[in-house]
Amino acid sequence: MKEILSVQSLKKYFSAKGGDSLKAVDDVSFSVREGDVFGLVGESGCGKSTLARLILRLIIPTDGRIVFDGMSVADAHGETLSKIRRGLQIIFQDPFASLNPRKRIIDAIGEALIVNKLAQRAEVKDKVAELLAKVGLNGSTLYKYPHELSGGQRQRICIARALSVNPKLIVADEPLSALDVSIQAQIINLLEDLHRASNLSFVFISHNLQVIEHFTDMVAVMYLGKIVEMSPTEAFFREPLHPYTEALLSAVPVPEVDRQRKRIILEGDVPSPLHIPSGCPFHPRCPKRFEPCDKIVPVLKEARKGRVVSCLLWE
């Protein structure tokens, strides 16, 4: 199948106090097949949003390459660039920060439609109302300003705006966490329908592992700027390979009462990307570490068919 996105040895280092560099994204490679949903999970601060912003060309990589639909994102200009801009949309983690406070909803979304020649001025109202209905908002929202809406309503506006230009790939950074479970279900069904009908692809960042399990085809786990496990979704949840993944899956809060469960508690401090531990970066907290883990750096290797993991247990 065709690849819609390919990320090759991508790096983003921020400069920190005292000339140190903070390796937010460090040598990340993966690809997304057209029509697939690629899930990205990992510890808070491990570099997921940075990766999303790199893909969207909102920040410049320190090194590496991003190819979208056959076009190199870094070199694009002119017509190619506007094709990328239309084809590649983002839904941000913080919906309020990504909406213009002085624009009514109809204008915020309508503008995207007009600029991209997807609607005549006279049709804007109906088109925007139709998009809002898709994300479960009623017509009274059209003339509101962002501050008049709740957090979840604002996030749905951002989703509607991303959908408005008929993109090929949506990078969604925590798109559902502000929504109640019923609307989450409505939106996942909507995204699934779109994904089936128009072969829309996703890079889907989420801390909600139930949603990841339900919605994605592939999952990658990041830890301190690196991918430590990548696998087709079903196998991933059936049998997590990396000790960090095991701990992560065991910590998911389950919406059931009267259930005894074994949670793997990670000992030790959460490591800092400013002082990445020696050897395996996960070793100070790993319940399964053994002799060489603090000395040898594991690399991402195939451990099962179609599944890669970076852990010395699997080498």
Partner: protein, 329 residues
């Protein structure tokens, strides 16, 4: 209103009665919170769940007396027996942050981009605990450690945009717990956190609850968090509480069609289509007569449209539902 809600009990730390938040825009007025009453005892955890836009944040902001200027608020908010609605701004400023604190839903809009995060936390300590700047900054670093931010000494000197979404959220948490409040409102406190850190943060809040006898109003959409951490749960829809019960009851014996719908919406098995509640919440100015959930309810009968059902006890005094068919569900 039902009888038991009116009785004041000394162990109630916070009690709201008939809260109403009304927005006047142009000609229309919109009632965004309509008659919300709940009570929270010492060391209690009340979970507040509900449709996005149903008024959870506004209810919380009412308690903080931090509603937007175009909102008008009525009802009673009794904190340790004193009505917060009768307090003036300078009295409120003393209570806020010290006795009652809130973790806000959207960290990026609540943090000031031009100050370091350490300074913003220190400011709370300087205001309420009269600490020197030097001590306050040191304490701020300690708080960052408590909320599991790595390299706290470095991070205190950073600005909000240099932090990840989850770190900003933890800055908000550090600010809120800085003065050991006795009542903490946590509005979606862990949505930006991965589940391992989320568990550690909830563990931290839970230990504060015991050590400092803190009570918690926990607003979240995550029914998993509710199941594991809340003692009682209030479910809201269109500005009202529609069901309130102990957490076990909510999960094994839900008695409002909206609650039932929420539980059914949860992702279950892979490959199966999810079953959300059909339709969408009507706009606040277009709410139906009678039961406000009636436009989406599969249990609807003629009588539902006559008059709005009251929030009343069903099987026992502790399980309340606002549905005339609650007993049959």
């Amino acid at each position: 209103m039902s009888e038991h809600m009116n009785t004041w009990k000394s162990e109630n730390l916070l009690l709201t009665k008939d809260l109403k938040v009304i927005f006047k825009t142009n000609a229309v007025s919109i009632t965004a919170v309509d008659g919300v009453s709940f009570r929270i005892g010492e060391e209690d955890v009340l979970g507040l769940v509900g449709e996005s836009g149903c008024g959870k944040t506004l209810s919380a902001l009412s308690i903080m007396r931090l509603l937007p200027p175009n909102a008008s608020l009525s009802g009673k908010i009794l904190y340790k027996g004193e009505d917060l609605l009768t307090k003036n701004e300078s009295e409120l400023r003393k209570i806020r942050g010290r006795d009652i604190a809130m973790i806000f839903q959207e960290p990026m809009t609540s943090l000031n981009p031009v100050f370091t995060v350490g300074y913003q936390i220190a400011e709370v300590l300087m205001t309420h605990k009269a600490m020197s700047k030097k001590d306050a900054m040191k304490e701020a670093a300690g708080l960052l450690k408590a909320v599991k931010i790595p390299s706290p000494e470095v991070r205190v000197k950073e600005y909000p945009h240099q932090l990840s979404g989850g770190m900003r959220q933890r800055i908000m948490i550090a600010m809120a717990i800085a003065c050991n409040p006795s009542f903490l409102i946590a509005d979606e406190p862990t949505t930006a956190l991965d589940v391992t850190i989320q568990a550690q943060i909830l563990e931290l809040l839970s230990s504060l609850k015991q050590e400092h006898k803190m009570s918690l109003l926990l607003i979240t959409q995550d029914l998993g968090i509710i199941a594991e951490w809340a003692k009682r749960v209030a479910i809201m829809y269109a500005g009202r509480i529609v069901e309130e019960a102990d957490v076990r009851e909510i999960f094994i014996n839900p008695r409002h069609p909206y609650t039932i719908g929420l539980l059914e919406s949860l992702p279950k098995r892979r490959g199966r289509k999810l079953s959300p509640i059909p339709g969408q919440v009507p706009g606040l100015s277009e709410l139906p007569q009678g039961c406000k959930f009636s436009t989406r309810c599969r249990y609807i009968i003629k009588e539902c449209l006559n008059k709005e059902p009251e929030l009343i006890p069903i099987d026992n005094a502790h399980h309340l539902s606002r549905c005339i068919r609650a007993k049959e569900l």
